[in-house]
Symmetry: C2
Subunit: 300 residues, 2 copies
Amino acid sequence: MSEWPIRIQITEVGPRDGLQNQSKPISTETKIALINALSKTGLTNIEASAFVHPSWVPQLADADAVFAGIDRENGVTYSALVPNERGLKRALDAGADEIAVLTAASETFSQKNTNNSIDSSIEKIQPIVEQANSNGMSVRGYISCVIACPYEGVTDLQKVRIISQRMLDMGIEVIAYGETLGVAKPDDIKRMYDALDGVVSPESSVLHLHDTQGMAIDCVAEAMKCGVISFDASCGGLGGCPYAPGAAGNMATEDLVFFAQQIGVETGVDLDALISASRIIERELGCKLQSKTYRAFQDE
Amino acid sequence: MSEWPIRIQITEVGPRDGLQNQSKPISTETKIALINALSKTGLTNIEASAFVHPSWVPQLADADAVFAGIDRENGVTYSALVPNERGLKRALDAGADEIAVLTAASETFSQKNTNNSIDSSIEKIQPIVEQANSNGMSVRGYISCVIACPYEGVTDLQKVRIISQRMLDMGIEVIAYGETLGVAKPDDIKRMYDALDGVVSPESSVLHLHDTQGMAIDCVAEAMKCGVISFDASCGGLGGCPYAPGAAGNMATEDLVFFAQQIGVETGVDLDALISASRIIERELGCKLQSKTYRAFQDE
């Protein structure tokens, strides 16, 4: 039995990645209540929204109001996804602590998701990173579709390696590897980190999993064995609704925290408080959250 | 991190516990093909059917034909559930290697499931055990509802302890603890084994889990920490159909084998062969099997 890490770092992405896919409008008040509740669970990193054009992601059109309305908890980093320089300006005005930028390891996905080729999306990231850094903001770089793409199938891991190197070269410190489809099996995670050897160490990376096949926690276990200690997760497994065909929720924060508890890995997160926070959003969504841990602990 | 066992013992209960709940009739030929395929996966214990009155469980009315039709694999124990002396006679005639008898830790469930009080069901077990033992057959004793009952709620663990003692006293060597509802959380498993302390050791018991809330594997992990090394599981997670409201499948053998592989615990079972076996039954059932591992490895 290989040893587990002592502690992992969780970035809660529910308010951004989770809510951007919901067809039902969520009020700004509920988003603020959710983020405030999440801030009191012991989570230290919350991706609170995205400063994108409202026509692109109408669900997050109120990012400025959300940032203005939340109570900033000491020790919590509130970040936002930023697709362009206009977004960066809004993030700076809103007082976001960190930003995230985005590209993909699949040309087709990159075109559909950001209306840019991979090359073009990386070029557009450059000035954002420079300006963020000059404002003292650190930047995380997402790479989507690191294992598979809904349009192109299995991802060439050499692409992931090359894009990682380009992101590091432009001053991005942390790369978040997005398993967008939620189809990875543990072996895929190991293969990816093997392919990144010498470019990005598992310890310095973030793994961002979806749970379409219920294998996200299995992948976490494998990633931990590879040395990964930072994970994205979404409260309640937000990110897909059972009523949406093919919906793929993010890995649930509850499932991750519960698994970590079982194997004796610290997260700093209070599971009960987390479940209470998720209830806020379940009530407004009106459809059941997918996290098995959230569901299993409902009737206590 | 507590250590895991080197090896666990799996009893495949899909052909009995899995198929007895299916509303769609399954042909004897398919059952035989399934059991033959399971026999070649490395599984060493298969609960192949039940010798019950056809009006009670019509799905298993062909138990005699199933036992007559299967190819006996060397090293595989083929067992059957037996509710009464008539059933035992059929099991002996059919050449079953082992039998299982049944009671419950809930009065209401015992009445509904076996039409007997707990006391009465245990009294009726006594002559079955004696006759089986005198024919050189070993007997496992199931206790249903060890954690919770659909009618009575949370189970009194002292009842489980007392029933265990009575079963041991009458010559039953192995007790299988049935978490019939599939609502147990890892702490519940630990509490149960704590309550059994001094009567049944975890090492000598079998844990029989259902996966209603997706927590079966979490419970397995906790049980392993308690010392349990024997588990029941059902290929594909058979035992409930997604089209049946509230259906609660057994813990899937695939999920158990995959989890064991990941943590380095031997099962002796070939996962690919197991998935192929499950496909036989999925084709005839016409509804998707619930095992996440089975599903995740479909497109390879």
